[in-house]
Amino acid sequence: MITANPAPEAGPEARTGSTPVRAAPRRRRKRQWLPYLLLLPVLLAELLIHIIPMLIGVGMSFLQLTQFYIRNWTAAPGAGLDNYRFVLQFDEASGKALLHSFWTTVVFTVLVLALSWALAMLAAIWTQHAFRGRGLVRTAFLVPYALPVFASVITWSFMLQRDNGMVNHVLVDQLGLLDERPFWLIGDNSFYALIVVEVWRLWPFAFLALTAGMSSIPAEQYEAAAIDGAGVLRQVRWVTLPNLQPVNQVLLLVLFLWTFNEFTVPYTFFGRSAPEQADLISMHIYQNSFVTWNFGTGSAMSVLLLLFLLVVTAVYLLLTNRRRSADA
């Protein structure tokens, strides 16, 4: 249910209520094809590049599509639900590892999302009104987004090296906050290190999206609130946030999906194999199936992941829409 409008009301047809009855059906039919026409190019592109491959991908999960059959898929023996059964054996090591990876990813995503959004909101609020150097500050914030992932993530792995990294040099040698040099790339800290790197890469995009969203808030609303005696914080709560509702609703969902499926950052950061404390699900699926071209199992795991994300999305949309109509 994507009622993204703050004030749900009837479409353009309603406006023509004063016209005679005979004209109305013609108008309605004329209006009806326009949205479909607008969607057509998208639909075609999505079909070719996304939908059909995805359906084939789902189909693969029901086949025993290992390297033996990759050359001729149509000959791959059907596996029924075997792939799923193997994946879901939660009492075996493989199932336990999958579950562990899943939970790690959930916690990871929630933390990254919260931090990125918070930083982005702060930065967007602080840069909302002009001041000298605002353009430079905004650009500085977008620099992490501009750098190639490979290079910037490798740089972070250099910075977080135990012996030669900048972070330990500052923490231990210069600031004296810690006595012993901790590990950041392996061990328990690796989870938090990964969060920092991911937030570093993600929050600029959230900042961009929120800044764009904030820019369309009419100045009168702020002025009216100021007249009513609202200070900065109140204005944020009663003017900025409500106006950002449609953007935030989408942004949070988009960031969630993006982060949950993050592959490149942990892959590069941990040198192709993650420590178990930071074993994110996309890498886990890759290492346990695709690395040996076992597309059958890999698809099964991916389909399960897809179902989970669909459920989360549906619940999220239901909740946010219900809250919005309650507010309105």
Binding site: A4, L147, A209, G213, S216, T313
Partner: protein
């Protein structure tokens, strides 16, 4: 709005800290690019003891950096613009119209983002190859193939983001434009788009950066002449050695135009024309 002092001070401190956070790795990249290869994995120093520009010179030879840069630029620009145009049309339909299949469309389009890339890779490649063989449309190893792939990749998020931005453009604007004698498309082009310009810019940047940085599909769908930067940069990791200093040098160099682009575009992230246009 007069800003209270605590706000101004918190802003100064906050933005400074955030800037440091954002730019610290850039400093490390710069110093790494100026070091000889043997020093890169040596002890950390804020300022390198030996400084050399060799990396900036060698990096053009180790991989055909210039060619990769042009490929990336062309592919990403075209994919981004095409994606935004298509997404804008679709987002307008979803935002402004109620029609059958609206929910199905939106959720299906979003669900494509929930699948790992490698699962798409093979079927997509096979489709491309077959299109090439059956219909003579050569998409494998060609720029158009990559462009179409990238524009489709960025469509779902672009559409969803634009729906959000368009939704915050009040309907009254559409109605005001209709009163002025514009049809729905006229209202769209003349009034809604300018009002949603900041959102469009944000999505354009997103689409460009996604195409710019994509690795998996580029590694398979390109050949020597069409290879893009994101994939090409990994060519610095050769059999003998990984030329860290050249990687950093190349990354910084290719990011300069992108950052310059950001600097130019960020001024469009300003108040749209909504203020005062609805009386």
């Amino acid at each position: 709005m007069r800003e209270p002092r605590w706000f101004v001070w918190s802003r100064r401190i906050g933005l400074t800290l955030l800037s440091v956070f954002a730019l610290l790795p850039v400093w490390v990249m710069i110093t790494t690019s100026l070091k000889p290869l043997g020093d890169v994995q040596g002890e950390f120093r804020w300022f390198p003891s030996t400084v050399t520009l060799d990396a900036f010179v060698d990096m053009w030879r180790t991989i055909p950096l210039g060619r990769y840069f042009v490929n990336s630029l062309v592919v990403s620009l075209i994919a981004a613009v095409a994606s935004v145009v298509l997404a804008l049309l679709a987002a307008y339909a979803v935002s402004r119209y109620r029609f059958r299949g609206r929910q199905l469309f939106s959720v299906t389009v979003l669900s494509t983002q929930m699948f790992p890339g490698i699962l798409f890779l093979l079927p997509l490649f096979v489709i491309f190859v077959n299109l090439g063989q059956q219909l003579g449309i050569d998409l494998y190893g060609s720029r158009p193939g990559l462009i179409i792939t990238y524009l489709t990749f960025t469509l779902p998020f672009s559409i969803w983001m634009l729906v959000g931005y368009l939704d915050s453009v009040p309907r009254e604007l559409d109605e005001a434009a209709a009163v002025d004698g514009n049809g729905p498309m006229g209202a769209f082009i003349r009034v809604v788009i300018p009002a949603a310009m900041p959102g469009i810019v944000a999505v354009l940047i997103y689409a460009f950066m996604t195409a710019w940085g994509e690795v998996l599909f580029a590694s398979v769908l390109t050949d020597e002449s069409t290879r893009t930067l994101a994939v090409g940069l990994q060519g610095y990791a050769t059999q003998n050695n990984v030329y860290w200093n050249q990687i950093m040098a190349a990354s910084l160099t290719v990011s300069l135009p992108v950052v310059a682009g950001f600097l130019l575009l960020q001024r469009y992230l300003v108040a749209g024309l909504t203020a005062g246009s609805v009386k």
